[in-house]
Subunit: 229 residues, 2 copies
DNA sequence: CCACTAAATGAATGCCATTCATTTGTGACG
DNA sequence: CGTCACAAATGAATGGCATTCATTTAGTGG
């Protein structure tokens, strides 16, 4: 039975000094699961700017170099976090709902999860699925839903990829500042754009991001729905 | 007449030593335009990994600290590069083609430009338009095209945002490795996904990215086209 | 003519990911 | 039961990075 990684960390006292003597400890302090959990906790608390290998090591009460016995790089840790987060994406609707509603539920859930983790998007987008088992499981659930809905085999992956691209791009929108469309002093030179922006009213940008996401998602669902046989 | 930034750099000889004496030079060596051009050249040659303030300074034959008289951070340089690149996006079809074809031409052009510059996407996606005049000009041209095509004012921005989200996400796909969907040893556990992947044949991934982009784009064009009055 | 400011240098600063030598414990093999 | 390979920790480098600051020099406005 491997030691639970929290066994040596005491969250009550902020002593935090790595008071462990040199050499292999009696029972292992670290493992990938513990590193992943600590990384996610750290990101939630300090954001991706505050997420450094040194800070991660500190929360685990360990020297930074110890991490490299379990992961080979910081990117490796991000991959672990990414895959873990993917398990929070809700694919259950593919079992319980008609195809179009299942896609909606999945897409919103997927966007919401990664809107809080946009620095992972460049990592996910080019990550081989073999390196991320939980992500692969999500694809399997979605693919199965598409097949049951009558999609021709060779359209399933392109449709999922297109949806995913839209989802990733939309995740960034959620985090954009509210005044992103204020043209400032240049507004006079862009009458059409400015008028279009003015017609939006002054809902928060998150809401605006939701409007755009909904609009695009409905178009994709409608367009792809027509492919079913 | 300000000095052209290439005047002091000799691309024939790789001497490269910043042999300039301390103190303000007779005529300014740097300006934002020159920095932007050099940054783009550097990125094309060395990629975003090789793009450091020190390397940029070296190509300009200048000490790194000199850059900070003209930009306030590395991010600032990236914003300059981003805005410059946006002027390469082709919006001319909005003047010459019917709306649907104009959107296609613009979207493909936009994707192709930023597929080679994906590290800029996190910057663009949350950048206020007021900080990027050429980007603003692109939005104006696109907005005008949508208005002329009969879009209701308040749908124009959401539609453009949705298209842009799809475009940014799709730009990442272009750069993904060819074997991104190989499930390796886990393939047995994901029959639906594996079958869908197998049905794709073995075209390169760039082509696969094009298939997905085309599929999604057509769905969005069709869906948004229905909004016109 | 003089003060101010702009634009360069070069020397720090502090942070970061990563590597390496070293120490110590564990488990497998003979 | 001993020893030997390996696993897992420490702590001290290493080299690179963006950025800052004091300093120097040169134009510019009053």
């Amino acid at each position: 039975m491997p030691a639970t990684p929290s066994a040596t960390a005491d969250p009550h006292r902020p002593d935090a000094k790595p008071r462990r003597r040199v050499g292999r400890p009696a029972s292992a302090v670290l493992d990938q699961e513990g590193i992943t959990a600590a990384a996610l906790r750290l990101v939630r608390k300090s954001g991706y700017d505050g997420f450094t290998m040194a800070a991660l090591a500190r929360t685990l009460n360990v020297a930074p170099s110890a991490l490299y016995n379990h992961v080979s790089s910081k990117r490796d840790v991000l991959v672990l976090v990414q895959d873990h987060l993917t398990s929070f994406v809700d694919v259950s609707a593919f079992e319980t709902q008609p195809w179009d509603q299942a896609v909606r539920d999945w897409a919103w859930s997927y966007r919401d999860v990664f809107a809080r983790h946009t620095p992972l998007i460049p990592v996910i987008a080019v990550l081989p699925v073999a390196d991320a088992p939980k992500t692969l499981a999500m694809y399997e659930a979605v693919s199965a839903g598409f097949r049951r809905a009558g999609f021709p085999q060779e359209r399933i992956i392109p449709a999922i990829v297109a949806l995913e691209s839209f989802i990733f791009g939309s995740a960034y929108d959620v985090t954009a500042p509210a005044d992103i469309f204020d043209s400032g002093s240049l507004g006079a030179a862009t009458p059409n754009f400015s008028a279009a922006v003015a017609s939006l009213g002054d809902q928060g940008y998150t809401n605006q991001a939701d409007v755009a996401f909904s609009l695009g998602l409905e178009a994709l669902v409608a367009g792809f729905g027509a492919l079913r046989s």
